[in-house]
């Protein structure tokens, strides 16, 4: 007794209007010189060769990848350490969990505004003020104004907001590791590191998969934080695919070119997540 087909009709209708039709048209526009007004014509792969020749756009591809790698590595590294630290018998563990996770529920734009202050270049303000107060005055930087630093400062801000998110996913993984496996390993004489390496880590593989995929997709598509914190600057130093395609569309009105950049982004996201899923799923094992 199967449910009738019309159960799916409302969902299909909304999905077709909001996602399928616009995405389909978007892919077509990527091969045109459409500017939103007047006629347009097909220009083949011109938008893509333009992307390759456009220094700012090409730099944004590199920035997007660097930013994503930094976020994936640091956010998950920190998330794992936090999870291991909290998944113990310390008395503050419940409170710490809440504290570390809390930023993840706040709007990224607001976190970016807060961090814009933290990154204030003045010596007495924000992070610089803190560094001065603890005797590390020589570490002060123009965090968002220095072209060599801006991208990494944005990455660090994202890590601050979402490391707790990685932590809770790792915690769920840690809780699924049966105690008796640890006991058995202990009886066999395995030390702390060996137990982590050979018992905990393999069983954490599903959590690693989820975390790596989530942070990769999030990193590649990152927009709000960059837009609010640096708007791609100084110069093009922290420009990403998302900010470039936004500017091409809503500042310059190059709709065709903008959707071409979106298509490149879509290809990156699909290709990278496909490869990741193959590699990460392959190393998953179960405790059963």
């Amino acid at each position: 007794m199967l449910p009738p087909w019309w159960f799916a009709v409302p969902a299909l209708l909304v999905y077709a209007v909001v996602v399928l039709y616009p995405t389909g048209t978007g892919i077509v526009y990527a091969f045109t010189d459409w500017t939103g007004i007047g006629d347009w014509s097909f220009v083949g792969f011109d938008n893509f060769t333009k992307l390759w020749d456009d220094d700012a756009a090409r730099g944004s591809v590199v920035n997007t990848l660097l930013l994503t790698i930094a976020i994936v590595v640091v956010q998950n590294g920190v998330g794992l350490l936090l999870a291991l630290g909290v998944h113990t018998h310390i008395k503050s563990r419940a409170l710490l969990r809440v504290i570390f996770f809390a930023p993840a529920v706040v709007s990224p734009v607001m976190v970016a505004f807060l961090w814009k202050y933290v990154y204030n270049p003045k010596p007495g303000e924000g992070l610089n003020g803190l560094l001065g107060a603890i005797g590390l005055g020589s570490w002060r930087q123009d965090w968002l104004g220095d072209p060599d630093l801006a991208l990494w400062s944005v990455a660090f801000m994202v890590v601050w907001q979402f490391a707790g998110y990685s932590m809770v996913i790792f915690l769920a993984g840690l809780e699924s590791v049966p105690d008796n496996l640890h006991e058995a390993a202990m009886i066999d004489g395995a030390g702390r590191w060996q137990r982590f390496r050979h018992v905990t880590w393999p069983l954490l593989a599903p959590a690693v998969t989820v975390n790596v995929m989530l942070s990769t997709i999030g990193g590649l598509k990152l927009f709000d934080q960059v837009y609010a914190a640096t708007n791609g600057g100084p110069g093009y130093a922290s420009e990403t695919l998302s900010t470039v395609l936004y500017k091409q569309a809503f500042v310059f009105g190059n709709y065709g070119y903008s959707t071409a950049i979106a298509l490149v982004l879509a290809l990156f996201v699909s290709a990278i997540s496909l490869v990741q899923v193959q590699i990460l799923r392959g190393r998953e094992v179960t405790a059963g």
């Binding site: 007794m1 199967l2 449910p3 087909w5 159960f7 799916a8 409302p10 969902a11 299909l12 909304v14 999905y15 209007v17 909001v18 996602v19 616009p22 995405t23 978007g26 526009y29 939103g36 630290g85 113990t88 018998h89 310390i90 008395k91 503050s92 710490l96 809440v98 504290i99 570390f100 996770f101 809390a102 529920v105 706040v106 709007s107 990224p108 734009v109 607001m110 807060l114 202050y117 933290v118 107060a133 809770v168 996913i169 915690l171 769920a172 105690d179 640890h182 006991e183 599903p206 590649l220 927009f223 709000d224 395609l245 936004y246 959707t259 979106a262 298509l263 982004l265 879509a266 997540s273």
Partner: protein, 275 residues
Amino acid sequence: MSFRYGLRTFALELLMIAVALAFLFPVYALVTLSLKDPQQIAASPLSPPTSPTFGNFGDAWERASFGSALLNSTLITVTSVVLLIAVGSFAAYFIARRRTGLGYGMYVLFLLGIVLPFQLGMIPLFKLVDDAGLLGTYQGMVIFYTGIQLPFTIFLYTGFIRALPSEYADAALIDGAGHMRAFTQVVFPLLRPITGTVLILNAVFIWNDFFTPLLYLGGSAKETIPVRIFSFVGQYVSEYGLVFAGLVLAALPILAIFLVLQKYVIKGFSSGLKG
């Protein structure tokens, strides 16, 4: 395993608390500055507020028309989440119970929406919403969120329903109930755990979303909190106390809900994404 709170655990406890304190520095700066007037900020921005003033909060509430933004965010989030749960659970029930042919094809079609960045359809959709006269309206946003979050919602529901025995619904159907009643009165209540996850993840996403409401609602009376705060910060950028009071106001509603429902929220975030 029996456990004794030894020196090693104590050292770890101290270390983790130190990490948490460093982690909280931005929050300390946020709260401290929001409690100071411009003179106090000029004198020493980061010292603990000795004579806290709460005037910034009233000013920020008024100048950002925060009340209306709160109402807009609430209406858009609640309506979108209710629609997502209704439309998504029905479709997922169909997809989960028909694993071949049409059901499978639809599953793949919806999954596609999880991977595709929405920017690909961003401009055509903007034109569509503009042509339909839905810029600056609640309806435009609600339809957008329902469509854009459906893939993820259906993905969560389908996984859950597939693991659920079909005997419950069959029994109701044999007793003479229609498909509609069998689903709404028998199956849907069984979906409560995943409905909780769907609700939390979608509500947090919609409540915090910035880019699309900026495009669709920017400058209108229907601006949501992130958009309103964005223009508020731009306007008063040099008045830290005021800006930070605005940020505290903006973050408080969702943080308060998170603190009350922390167990469910953390569970939703950590379990819902395993597929």
